[in-house]
């Protein structure tokens, strides 16, 4: 048993279950990063709970030595909300996929975000339905050929970031399965944030959608195609960090500029302000090749958590009958003498 006195190592968060993802699946890397994060933030096994839906990604809880609940397809946010309303003391992580969280589970995702329940929500986005053998998902790009779309998919994809911002999320971040350091740092930010921390993780499905993120994750192009946003720092990217984003005057649009070229200086570069929703959604809508893929904490603007206000209101609810007897005797009664 765990007495959880000594701080735990990442390996302490490995469960006794054999991991059953396909060899090479991006989920392995995420699992490692989460175990690392748990150790780094000093989590305990007993007070940590992983809740998931259904999908390859949602197998996640079985591989972590904390408490876990592998629920049903799309419903993890609802289960997690109920859990937090019973037990605000628990540290709850939610694992979902692009199908689980944005297709069947879109409504619960929407509402947990607006309610701002205090959990870490990891969306493993592989732009495909892995577990059911490769149908396209709500994040699949137009033209995706899959068993259910032999001639290519037609629905225009959702942007998890824009969706989350539109739903009223107070913390929105993006990172990549294979970029351990960045992944861990983002997960730590998510854990530190009180409220629903929405983290989209670009995850490679080697079997059904291999390489779909290569355009910005491939080592060869990453530096030029990724912008790692940091609050208060200029939004620059490129090997020499000589490229940056500038706000087009009065146009509410961003453009890529090169420092040192036609008069552009550091000072022209937009500085990241993670508390600005508008900036976050502008950054979230940029895509390679024309723009870099912006990663990191795009938006963080804390607000009261749902459970905090719920229990504060309960505390303040001092009116009315105090016990069962008083309750049942409230209002009109009459007595028949014995």
């Amino acid at each position: 048993m765990t007495t959880s006195t000594a701080p735990l190592k990442a390996s302490d968060f490995e469960s006794d279950q054999e991991v059953r993802w396909c060899p090479g699946c991006g989920d392995y890397a995420i699992l490692k990063a989460v175990q690392r994060t748990l150790a780094d933030v000093g989590a305990t096994k007993e007070s940590t709970v992983f809740v998931s839906g259904i999908g390859c990604s949602s197998r996640f809880p079985y591989y972590i030595s904390t408490y876990g609940f592998h629920t049903i397809h799309g419903r993890a946010p609802a289960v997690a909300t109920g859990l937090k309303l019973a037990r605000p003391d628990l540290d709850v992580w939610l694992v979902t996929g692009d199908g689980d969280g944005l297709s069947i589970g879109g409504n619960h995702m929407l509402h947990i975000l607006r309610r701002n329940v205090d959990i870490q929500l990891m969306l493993f986005n592989n732009e495909i339905y892995g577990l059911t053998k490769g149908q396209y998902s709500p994040t699949s790009r137009v033209g995706t050929r899959s068993p259910s779309t032999p001639l290519g998919s037609l629905d225009s994809p959702l942007s998890p970031t824009l969706f989350a911002l539109g739903a009223g999320a107070r913390f929105v971040a993006r990172t990549v399965d294979t970029q351990q350091a960045h992944l861990v740092s983002v997960l730590k930010r998510a854990h530190a944030h009180r409220g629903t921390s929405f983290v989209e993780i670009f995850q490679n499905c080697v079997v059904y959608n291999d390489g779909v993120f290569d355009e910005f994750t491939d080592k060869s192009v990453a530096p030029d195609r990724q912008l790692l946003a940091e609050h208060g720092k200029p939004l620059v990217f490129g090997k020499e960090k000589t490229q940056g984003l500038r706000l087009k005057p009065a146009a509410l649009e961003l453009e890529v500029v090169t420092i040192g070229e036609n008069g552009v200086t550091e000072s022209d570069i937009l500085v990241h302000n993670e508390t600005n929703r508008t900036l976050a959604s502008l950054l979230g809508s940029l895509h390679p090749p024309a723009f870099p893929q912006v990663l990191g904490v795009l938006y963080c603007d804390p607000a009261p958590t749902y459970e905090d206000v719920v229990f504060a209101q309960m505390k303040s609810a001092t009116g009315g009958p105090k016990d069962l007897a008083a309750l049942m005797h409230s209002g009109r009664t009459w007595t028949v003498a014995g």
Partner: protein, 618 residues
């Protein structure tokens, strides 16, 4: 009691009376009826009431579909239904007359406010001629009163606006009816004064209206006599009137107390007629109750499951269509063996059906309505006050057997009310839950050897870290298992656990009559009252008929089969197209007969009496 003035003919004694107040949604008929009920209860009568709201939120004034009514049945002995035929009908406008007259018995008293019988209202109600002027009402004792005018005079001193004055019409009528049945009115006056403390004029005006109506009865020679109904003999103790919603909610609170669970999480999504359960619990935060209005029923059920995993008493409530949406998640609760109270306030189906009408057509759904072999206990409520005990039973079974429990009640019980002897909380049952804390030998799949209930181990407990989910789990370790024999074993244990509850519930009793005879009339749910009275009636004719009312629908009480087989015939009246009857036939292979009524309305005693008689003659 107000003494009847000497000049006035003596009151005619009655054993039981049924009266109905009917008027426009805006006429305050619900309040009028409730107040009459209170005074009646305080007068010591047994009683049952039923409100009949319009389907529309607020239909245009004067329309037939905008009529709101409140019925009360009271008497000097056990009263079990809101009554069949009316002894008296109060019709505040033509539409109320139009829609309610058919229920008034010949010779019954009919009170009409003639002021409202103007051409406009008459056409709205669909009358071509004024019924007050033609012979159509000759069968009744009609009191054509200008209530509006008399009331206006009564309240004039308080300088109310015309609208305000009109609003107090119902109090004038109430006063008259209280006089007619010899009820006190002091509690109503008290209540009016409390209600309008901030508006003393309104209070005074309403009291004046009430008194005026009463005085009118007392001082005028009415074409209708006055009545008296002696108090019913009742067990000593403190009483109150409760609706099914009140006692259900209090039963849940009592259940949480008995289980020693100080956190209750009730997750629900509004739906007619189930919303009042959510509303009531939302007002009880001081009891550590969290109410969560979820985005939909699926979320509500799943939130309840999450709360149960966390160790709270988890409750969700809905009606047919909402329960349909919960079924997938209910399967998860069965599979993970977590306790959740699922309340179904049944209404008219299929689909949206008749949302504001009552029905009991979700029994199939409750017993069979899930994918896979997914058994769960199903229990039902019979009367408004019965809801209290049933709610406690639901909590006991759910927590002891670690299973979702389906509690079936219906729209009729939710709104109907009756007097209730308030129980002594110190005498209530207690069934504290035990959470697992010892890590030694722990597996999430551990079971109580007797109940087969799975261990309840809460997140936050060091050393009990484990994972649960909807995939089949190994009997011994609780890990995922695709093993064929294990699936068989788990299927069997899930079934055995639920069947075993039969050993932990009372044997089936007979509500009326012997445990053998020519016919057993078997019911469940809110049909209790009418079946009870109907069986009494035919027994009075010497027929060997008994009433058996089943609370535990899955599993059935151990002795039910033998009991039913001791009757020559089994008749099963249901407010559905024959659902319990199907279950009984397959369970016991007895030729139980269906008696279906699917009109959105409760059975009338007379309907049942006729049905029983004719079957017996066959």
């Amino acid at each position: 009691m107000t003494a009847t003035s000497p000049t006035h003919p003596a009151r005619i004694p009655r054993d039981a009376v049924v009266i109905r107040f009917a008027g426009d949604s805006g006429d305050g008929m619900q309040i009028t009826g409730s107040e009459f009920a209170v005074e009646t209860a305080l007068a010591g009568n047994d009683l049952a009431t039923f409100p009949d709201f319009p389907a529309e939120i607020r239909a245009p004034q004067g329309t037939t579909f905008g009529v709101s009514a409140f019925q009360i049945h009271f008497g000097n002995s056990e009263v079990m239904t809101a009554g069949d035929e009316l002894d008296a009908l109060i019709a505040m406008n033509p539409a109320a007359l139009k829609t309610n007259l058919k229920d008034l018995q010949r010779g019954g008293v009919l009170v009409c406010d003639i002021a409202t019988f103007n051409p406009r209202n008459l056409t709205k109600a669909g009358y071509t001629t004024n019924p007050l002027d033609d012979p159509s009402l000759s069968d009744y004792r009609v009191l054509k009163l200008d209530v509006t005018k008399m009331n206006a005079e009564a309240v004039k001193p308080f300088g109310l606006g015309a609208k305000e004055a009109l609003r107090s019409r119902n109090m004038w009528t109430l006063g008259l009816m209280l006089w007619m049945y010899g009820r006190d009115r002091s509690h109503t006056i008290e209540w009016l004064e409390r209600k309008f403390t901030k508006k003393p004029d309104i209070a005074k005006a309403n009291v004046a209206a009430l008194n005026a109506g009463h005085a009118f009865g007392e001082t005028t020679e009415l074409s209708a006599p006055s009545y008296s109904v002696a108090p019913a003999s009742a067990a000593p103790g403190t009483y109150r009137t409760v609706t099914g919603t009140d006692s259900l909610v209090w039963g849940l609170v009592a259940g949480a107390k008995a289980a020693k669970l100080d956190r209750v999480v009730m997750a629900s999504y509004p739906i007619t007629p189930s919303s009042p359960v959510l509303h009531s619990l939302a007002g009880l935060k001081q009891f550590g109750i969290v109410t969560f209005q979820a985005e939909d029923e699926i979320s509500a059920m799943c939130a309840a499951i999450g709360a149960a995993f966390g160790g709270a008493l988890a409750i969700t409530s809905s009606s047919g269509p909402g329960i349909a949406l919960k079924t997938e998640a209910i399967g998860l609760a069965v599979m993970t063996e977590l306790p959740v109270i699922v309340i179904n306030n049944q209404r008219g189906g299929p689909s949206t059906g008749l949302p504001t009408k009552t029905e009991q057509s979700d029994l199939y759904q409750a017993i069979y309505g899930r994918n896979g072999d997914t058994p769960l206990p199903v229990i039902s409520t019979a009367t408004p006050s019965d809801c209290f005990e049933v709610a406690m039973e639901a909590v006991r079974i759910a927590t002891k057997y670690m299973t979702p429990v389906m509690l079936l009640t219906d729209g009729y019980l939710a709104n109907a009310s009756e007097p209730w002897l308030i129980p002594d909380v110190t005498q209530l049952p207690s069934f504290p839950v035990k959470f697992r804390t010892d890590p030694v030998g722990f597996h999430p799949s551990l079971r109580d050897p007797v109940t087969l209930g799975r261990v309840w181990a809460l997140p936050g407990t060091a050393g009990l870290e484990h994972r649960i989910g909807g995939i089949e789990k190994d009997y011994d370790t609780g890990h995922i298992s695709y093993d064929p024999d294990n699936h068989q074993k788990m299927t069997d244990v899930r079934a055995a656990k639920i069947d075993g509850i039969a050993n932990d519930i009372p044997l089936q009793t007979v509500a009326v009559g012997e445990d053998t005879g020519t016919m057993a009339v078997v019911g469940w749910g809110s049909t209790y009252g009418p079946i009870h009275q109907a069986v009494r009636a035919v027994r009075a004719e010497g027929k060997k008929v008994s009433h058996i009312h089943i609370r535990y629908l899955k599993p059935f009480p151990r002795n039910l089969g033998d009991l039913l087989k001791r009757f020559d015939r089994v008749l099963v009246p249901e407010m559905n197209n024959g659902q319990l009857v199907t279950v009984l036939r397959s369970e016991y292979l007895i030729p139980a007969e269906k008696l279906a009524k699917v009109t959105g309305k409760p059975f009338k005693i007379s309907e049942l009496v006729t049905a029983i008689r004719t079957r017996l003659e066959k």
